[in-house]
């Protein structure tokens, strides 16, 4: 409207200017005619009066147009100022009505990105920001729904693994138990029968290991893999693990040597779990090394930690496999001639377990000359004080 006023002002100004120029031109025309009469000596008195009156009239016209020009300029100026002010006010209103919802959206996006899936924005303001807010809320809703579905699936998976592991354990107990029972009466079996029963037993134990590994993994994923640490001497754990492995090592003619420092400090450890890790490392050495290989377990104090190395002189692990060796379902290439009964989960679980103890596990290998797996566990505090 104010812009319209300015346009009207400018138009009026142009009209007045035209009128002024027409009137001035007519006045000059009359004066010229009067001057011609004067020069010709026709009614000189009237001619002089006309000349003077035309000059006065033009002065009046000039004054009038000057006033009109000033008024019009003022009008246009006022119109422009009012227009600009109005526009500025309008834009300020517009910007502030957009800014608030946009600020809310920015904040909500940040919270959504950091995992707060409950976040929603108030939908309002201009239609564009309202649409944006609505779309944001729909997106958050969808994300929340999918996250819910994923969590539910994860829970179902964990529940399934737990239930399956539980339900399979009873029949496996029977199979393993009766196979063991048969072997107790080995002298009444033919060599072939005894061998058959041993195959049943081997495979049952493998299934049990697989179940235990899957269970540990499901627990680890659900954050429910727990340890019950107590002050423990690593030496006795190493001896127990060695005893557990004796039969398998003997079966492959492998020699196991233990070298445990006498002043080994105690560690805060869940005995079953650390033994499980040691048995896992020894089982790997047993299965991946050839007949007659040499395996060594060394334990020593290293600063505030106890270091346990499981060393073998087997075929070693190629660098590209070594990189991924603690990842799930990674299994070494044992060659076609060897029987390897691993699940591909043992080292991944071992790593989780050692890390739960606040320790670390790593592997080194020279392909062709063997591998070393090193466990580091923090020594118990008072032992650590003595070490300093």
């Amino acid at each position: 409207m104010l812009t319209g006023l300015a346009v009207v002002g400018v138009a009026r100004f142009l009209q007045q200017r035209q009128d002024f120029e027409n009137a001035t031109a007519r006045s000059y025309q009359r004066e010229i005619e009067a001057r011609n009469d004067l020069a010709a000596g026709r009614q000189p008195a009237i001619a002089r009066t006309t000349i003077e009156s035309q000059q006065r009239q033009r002065q009046v016209l000039r004054n009038e147009i000057s006033d009109e020009t000033r008024d019009t300029a003022l009008l246009v100026g006022a119109g422009l100022i009012a227009g600009l002010t109005g526009a500025a006010l309008l834009f300020t209103g517009l910007i502030s009505s957009m800014r608030r919802p946009l600020e809310d959206l920015v904040e909500a996006s940040g919270r959504l990105a950091s995992g707060d899936l409950d976040v929603r924005v108030k939908v309002g303001g201009l239609s564009e920001t309202a649409t944006l807010g609505g779309a944001f809320n729909e997106m958050a809703e969808e994300l929340q729904r999918r996250a819910g579905e994923r969590d539910q699936l994860e829970r179902m998976k964990d529940e399934f693994v737990l239930t399956a592991s539980h339900e399979l354990r009873s029949p496996l107990t029977s199979v393993q138990g009766f196979a063991e029972l048969l072997l107790l009466e080995r002298e009444r079996l033919s060599p072939r029968q005894a061998e058959t029963v041993e195959v049943i037993l081997d495979n049952t134990r493998h299934l049990v290991r697989l179940l235990n590994d899957l269970l540990d993994l499901a627990r680890s994923d659900a954050g429910r893999l727990t340890i019950r640490p107590e002050p423990t001497g690593a030496a006795s754990l190493i001896e127990e693990a060695a005893r557990t492995m004796r039969a398998q090592l003997d079966a492959r003619g492998q020699e196991l040597r233990l070298q445990v420092d006498a002043d080994l400090p105690e560690v805060e450890a869940d005995r079953d779990r650390i033994r499980q890790v040691l048995v896992n490392l020894l089982t790997n050495a047993n299965e991946y090394c050839p007949q007659g290989a040499q395996i060594e377990v060394k334990a020593r104090r290293a600063g505030a930690e106890v270091e346990i190395d499981v060393i073998d002189n087997g075929p070693g692990i190629p660098a590209e496999q070594l990189e991924h060796i603690f990842e799930r379902f990674t299994r070494g290439d044992a060659g076609e001639t060897q029987r390897v009964g691993g699940t591909g989960l043992g080292l991944a679980i071992s790593k989780s377990l050692i890390e739960l103890h606040g320790g670390a596990i790593g592997a080194e290998s020279n392909p062709g000359s063997g591998s070393t797996f090193r466990i580091r566990l923090p020594a118990i505090a008072h032992e650590r004080a003595e070490a300093i």
Binding site: R169, Q176, G177, F178, E180, V208
Partner: protein, 121 residues
């Protein structure tokens, strides 16, 4: 040798346990759920040297049966056989004075050693 009450809802596991325990010279009585365990023990408290109970059984679990027996003043040592590898939640059942959890599949050497320890050889 010891008089042992063994309870499990699986007949094959009962047969396995009975066979192995009898081969070791123990006297075995069996039950197929917690109700039977409570009835058998309360009929003649003190007639068993050891209870070997499956943690999960229909009608009444081994843990519930043991709770009922403890409430009735039965102090017979008890071993709980559990399919859960973490041995159930030990801390939650500390009032039941469970001598040990025996995980499935059963390591019979460890079971026999435990029985010998609890029944004085």
């Amino acid at each position: 040798m010891a008089r042992i009450l063994v309870a499990d809802d699986s007949e094959t596991i009962l047969l396995l346990l009975r066979t192995r325990l009898e081969m070791e010279g123990h006297e075995v009585e069996t039950a197929s759920d917690g109700e039977d365990v409570v009835t058998a023990v309360l009929r003649d408290p003190g007639s068993h040297d050891l209870l070997l109970l499956d943690a999960m059984m229909p009608r009444k679990s081994g843990l519930d049966a043991l709770r009922e027996l403890r409430e009735n003043g039965v102090e017979t040592p008890a071993l709980i056989v559990s399919a859960h590898t973490d041995g159930g939640n030990g801390a939650a059942h500390s009032d039941l004075t469970i001598a040990a959890y025996i995980p499935k599949p059963i390591d019979f050497d460890r079971l026999f050693a435990k029985i010998a320890e609890l029944t004085g050889g």
